[in-house]
């Protein structure tokens, strides 16, 4: 067991080192940082001094190792754009993104699971066929389109929802939350729906497929033979057996959802990490870009590793199969 965990963690560390290498390579490709930082009046000597101070004269491997060591301690340098600490910038935006992602995940579970069960049970009826078709549309609609359409309907035409921003926020220590004020909650509705739509269709399709599988199994037939009420079989016994893959997928998709939030954030002017990243991209603010890449990948890889290990704890067969 311990060997397995160590193996997975080692694997995750290797992947993170490679991601850090990619992030580091961005610095190499995207021009000279001295040219970006220096102003017109600086003399060549000043520029050389700056170059030395930034460590740009060292070898490639030395620079990379320094980048990794600093990144592991949360030091991603200073932003080229406004000279602030990159980690501080991202930390200030982190709660906004996480709130959006968590609410969207909750929404997608609350809506996706019942819809999946319904379409599986009533297969062939018109409304389940209609839902199935709608789910293809849901997968096909890019999330920025969903956001624009929601804004058009609910903010422009009906005028009942705010179209941008986070509303009022309350500071809880370093975490700023919009969940405690009415305007904050209202502002969260449209972005959360538009972010969760894709996830809802994924979960709905997954639950449907799993349910159809489980409903054919022997224990369901046995329960029916014993006269257990139909709804009880469907919503309690069968559904319980579908939830494992759903939870796995939700956990694994969380990282992707945080990344995808950058589109939603741009549409709704939501002051999260994603918007910070997009601004950094348009200004070629490389330290912010690199830090965002590392942090998102870290969340992604960490979630995957945790899911893997949890699986091995729950199901001993996996432990032996992989060793």
């Amino acid at each position: 067991m311990l060997v397995f965990i160590l193996q997975r963690v080692l694997n995750a560390v290797m992947v993170m080192l490679a991601v850090a290498l990619l992030a580091f390579l961005i610095f190499q490709f995207a021009g000279d940082p001295v040219a970006q930082l220096a102003n017109e009046q600086m003399s060549q000597a000043d520029r050389d001094a700056l170059r030395e101070r930034l460590g740009l004269n060292d070898g490639f491997v030395t620079q990379y190792l320094r980048f990794v060591v600093n990144a592991a301690q949360g030091n991603f340098g200073i932003s080229y754009r406004n000279g602030q600490e990159v980690l501080g910038l991202i930390a200030a935006r982190f709660p906004a993104t996480m709130e959006l992602v968590l609410v969207a995940t909750a929404l997608s579970l609350l809506i996706g699971i019942p819809l999946g069960v319904l379409t599986a049970i009533h297969r062939g009826r018109w409304f389940s066929e209609a839902l199935q078709f709608t789910s293809i549309i849901g997968v096909s609609l890019p999330s920025f389109v969903v956001g624009i359409l929601l804004i058009l309907v609910f903010s422009v035409i009906l005028g009942i929802m705010p179209a941008f921003g986070r509303g009022e926020v309350v500071q809880l220590g370093w975490w700023s939350t919009g969940l405690l004020t009415p305007s904050g909650r209202l502002a969260l509705v449209l972005p959360a729906i538009s972010l969760s739509l894709y996830q809802i269709t994924l979960i709905m399709r997954l639950v449907r497929a799993e349910m159809m599988e489980v409903m054919r199994s022997d224990f369901v037939k046995f329960a029916r033979a014993r006269g257990v009420p139909r709804w009880r079989i469907q919503y309690i016994h069968a559904l319980k057996n579908c939830l494992m893959p759903v939870i796995t997928m939700t956990a694994m998709n969380m990282g992707a959802l945080i990344a995808f939030a950058l589109i939603t954030e741009t549409v709704f002017q939501w002051p999260g990490m994603g918007m910070l990243f997009i601004q950094a991209v348009t200004f070629i603010d490389i330290p912010v870009m690199a830090a965002y890449l590392c942090i998102i990948s870290f969340i992604f890889v960490a979630l995957n590793t945790i899911v893997d290990i949890t699986y091995a704890v729950i199901d001993p067969r996996l432990r032996h199969a992989t060793r």
């Binding site: 990619l22 624009i148 990282g255 589109i263 890889v301």
Partner: protein, 324 residues
């Protein structure tokens, strides 16, 4: 030497003979795939819609009322004309004009062409990279396989949209400024390709590992057929079924990725707008009542992607032996 191995290989190899038989079309018409296609109304509808969209997009220079690449055809006098069925609508602007006097219908036709070309180009390029790397890794195994798959793992641990954004931002920065407008399309193709090839490589690799052990491959090896020939002529045709499905669905994804990048402002420049650029532009006027500037590009983009995805969905079911 009449060994059982070579006998088997002939029996297996015959149905996939690459020689074009005289009645290829007739053979296709009598295939299971065609039958399933004619029975599935949504797939037929999607196919017709897709063909219509592609044909109209590529004949844009012939049928569009206005050449949107030619600034001399735009006049501000014609700006913000609503669609023809609204009050104040004017011929020839069927879908109205935007704030610069650009005819929306023409802009959408030209924009679809850009989107479709970028989508097709990036699917072909990622197919090329994915198939060759996947085949090589699966066939030779060992060190090559390990390196390629590790690299794939790393790419998969970064969300695709992030890879695409980073690649296009960095590549754009690396280009000299005068080439940025012209090279934007190529940069986008590169960005989408780099974020999409791993999927093909994985599918082909898995399939190749299975096929490699089969008798027909062993027979070919005994006959000293060169490895490249075995991979391309013998193994590749047997991996194409899942690849076809993945390529269709990826075409839709590629169009979406391109639209997203352009919407975020790191894709096609305003001088040669794709559908995403048009939506980005229209989005700025969402609150000023000129809804047609954003709604029509959105509708066109959705039609395009939905019809591709419906086709892909059908193809996946039709080619899945379990569901037959």
């Amino acid at each position: 030497m009449p060994s059982p191995v070579s006998h088997d290989s002939i029996a297996v190899a015959e149905p996939v003979s690459p020689v074009p038989l005289p009645g290829r079309l007739a053979r296709f018409r009598s295939s299971d795939l065609w039958y399933s296609f004619t029975r599935k109304r949504s797939a037929m509808f999607a196919a017709f819609a897709l063909i219509f969209l592609i044909v109209t997009a590529f004949s844009a220079p012939l049928i569009a009322p206005q050449n949107t690449y030619d600034p001399s055809q735009l006049t501000l006098l014609n700006s913000e004309i609503p669609p023809i069925w609204e009050d104040g609508g004017q011929m020839p602007f069927l879908l109205g004009t935007d704030t610069q006097g650009r005819d929306m219908l023409s802009a959408i036709l030209y924009g679809s062409r850009v989107s479709i070309v970028i989508g097709i180009a990036s699917v072909i390029l990622s197919l090329g990279i994915g198939l060759s790397l996947g085949l090589t890794a699966g066939y030779f195994g060992g060190f090559v396989d390990n390196i390629l798959m590790r690299f794939g793992d790393v790419l998969l641990s970064i969300p695709t949209i992030l890879i695409a954004i980073l690649v296009s931002a960095v590549a754009m920065q690396a280009l000299p400024p005068e080439l940025r407008e012209v090279g934007a399309g190529a940069v986008l193709v590169l960005a989408i390709t780099l974020s999409g090839w791993v999927q093909y490589a994985r599918i082909v690799r898995a399939q190749t590992i299975v096929e490699r052990r089969k008798e027909y491959v062993q027979a070919a090896r005994l006959l000293k057929v060169p490895a490249r020939r075995i991979m391309v002529n013998h193994i590749l045709p047997n991996t194409l079924t899942p690849i076809m499905v993945a390529a269709t669905l990826n075409f839709g994804m590629a169009i979406l990725t391109e639209a997203t990048l352009s919407f975020l402002g790191i894709g096609m420049p305003p001088s040669q707008p794709s559908l995403g650029t048009l939506i980005r532009f229209g989005n700025q006027f969402l609150f000023s009542g000129v809804w047609w500037v954003v709604v029509f590009p959105v509708v066109q983009l959705c039609l395009l992607v939905v019809s591709v995805n419906v086709l892909g969905d059908w193809l996946r079911d039709a080619l899945n032996p379990k569901l037959r």
